[in-house]
């Protein structure tokens, strides 16, 4: 065993204990602390972080929805109504999740347009783009599956129409469709598997996002000039400069989402709910800043 291998030294003995066994602390320090961010990056470069926050928000709100959701054709709709009426803050969880899905796409579209406009898809970042396309496909699949879960008219016919697309494939089409549905029509077997897949795909997305980010970090971020960075002088450390920028965008994004959510969340969302939702939006913003604070404190222990 290589006892002489060079190990990063931190002030905090607990960090050292972990670092010696799994050099994950220095990894995070390198990738999210010292990571050289081009100085001239504008706010378009915050949309990756925004998308990540949204993904986590979707996963968390989804898990709490799933605690009260029943994937059965006879009970699914009622269980969603129960979430709206009886479950404590169920309406809030559902609005976060359904509006969050829409905003997830808006954010990702801006992120993609950024990549196209500034040429971030080009050498040496092609794999990044390809992984991004996979994320996008997975997102589409996930939200289609989620859309079927409340089992209302739109869900049912949405499931019918989309799965029927497969029947257009010559020869194998009908068979493939029946296999996807697990029945000759959209039914309970379909709803069950759609729920199972809707639960698991976001975690797959999370994994691919990890690869996507790791891939950017190999050659570094692109910048608005499209000219590759020449020296350390062209960059600033990710922490705190980029993180602060993301911290501004994050809460702003949340506010936009929450404005939309509180006005148009649903026809049921009368102005009485407005105050609650806005207050909640406010705390969401603040919660994000805690993230920054905790990183700051980590820095205080010689991070």
């Amino acid at each position: 065993m290589d006892q002489n291998r060079k190990v990063h030294q931190f002030k905090n003995p607990i960090l050292n204990w972990i670092e010696f066994r799994l050099p994950i602390i220095s990894y995070f320090k390198k990738e999210y602390g010292e990571y050289p961010m081009p100085k001239n990056c504008n706010y378009f470069w915050s949309f990756g972080a925004l998308a990540t926050i949204t993904l986590v928000t979707m996963i968390v709100s989804g898990i709490f929805l799933a605690m009260n959701y029943t994937p059965h054709t006879d009970m699914a709709f009622d269980s969603v109504e129960r979430i709206m009426r009886d479950v404590n803050y169920g309406w809030l969880l559902r609005y976060i999740h359904s509006n969050g899905a829409s905003f997830f796409f808006i954010i990702v579209y801006i992120h993609i347009v950024r990549a196209m406009y500034f040429g971030s898809y080009k050498y040496p970042r092609e794999l990044n783009w390809i992984l991004g396309v996979f994320i996008f496909l997975l997102m589409m699949a996930t939200s289609f599956l989620g859309y079927t879960l409340p089992w209302g008219q739109m869900s049912y016919w949405g499931a019918t129409v989309i799965t029927n697309l497969f029947s257009a494939i010559p020869i194998v089409g009908e068979g493939l469709k029946t296999w996807l549905l697990g029945d000759y029509n959209v039914g309970n077997a379909t709803l069950n598997r759609f729920f199972a897949l809707h639960y698991v795909l976001p975690f797959v997305i999370f994994g691919v996002v990890g690869l996507h980010v790791a891939a950017v970090h190999v050659h570094g971020s692109n910048n608005p000039d499209g000219i590759e960075i020449k020296s350390k002088n062209d960059t600033v450390n990710f922490f705190p400069y980029m993180l602060i920028k993301d911290t501004i965008t994050g809460p702003l994004g949340c506010l936009v989402i929450w404005r939309r959510l509180s006005y148009f969340g649903d026809t049921l969302a009368h102005s009485a709910l407005l105050g609650v939702t806005l207050a909640y939006a406010f705390s969401l913003n603040i919660a994000f800043s805690v993230f920054v604070i905790s990183v700051t404190n980590l820095k205080a222990v010689n991070f």
């Binding site: 605690m67 479950v87 404590n88 809030l92 603040i286 919660a287 800043s289």
Partner: protein, 175 residues
């Protein structure tokens, strides 16, 4: 302008940001945690009204309340006397019979053994009632008396008395 850091100001800013952040995080997490406690419909099912006019003396019925069995027994004079004459200091979980009933003849108990949660026997005429003529838990042998108090066996506590009220002479509301 000097380059000296105003440490007091920095401390103040740090502390106030952390405080606001902590409050914000708590407010953010609260709805998520709260969504896990019983929902409105579950709470609405938390009270049960029972018609007790059909219960004969010496008879006991079992009703469901919050998913648990509740025993409602109309005690005979013998059973009442038996419950009252016990020396309180002899009891493992000392409690007078009068503290456990609202009207002497009516005994209302949560039918869940205080040991590990089995449902004690004693509701049916043919059931074993244990050495103290009340209830007997077959799981590990706990004996309860005619006031539902633990007298022998591993259970640590008397059978619980649920919150209840007499709406009139023939109806009680549990919960």
């Amino acid at each position: 302008m000097t380059n000296k850091t105003d440490l007091k100001k920095r401390d103040f800013l740090q502390l106030s940001t952390i405080t606001i952040g902590a409050v914000g995080t708590a407010a953010f997490i609260w709805p998520f945690l709260k969504s896990m406690s019983p929902a409105e419909d579950t709470l609405a099912a938390g009270t049960t009204e029972v018609d007790i006019s059909m219960i004969e003396e010496g008879q006991s019925i079992t009703v469901k309340w919050r998913g648990k069995p509740v025993f409602i027994k109309k005690r005979t004079q013998n059973e009442i006397n038996e419950a009252k004459k016990v020396e309180i200091s002899d009891l493992k979980d000392p409690q007078a019979d009068s503290e456990r009933v609202k009207k002497e003849e009516w005994l209302v108990l949560v039918g869940v053994c205080t040991h590990l949660g089995c449902v004690p026997l004693g509701q049916k005429v043919s059931d074993m009632k244990g050495e103290y003529d009340g209830w007997y838990c077959p799981c590990h042998g706990s004996h309860y008396d005619t006031s539902g108090r633990i007298r022998k066996g591993p259970a640590p506590k008397n059978l619980d008395v649920p919150p209840y009220a007499f709406l009139n002479d023939t109806t009680i509301k549990i919960g």
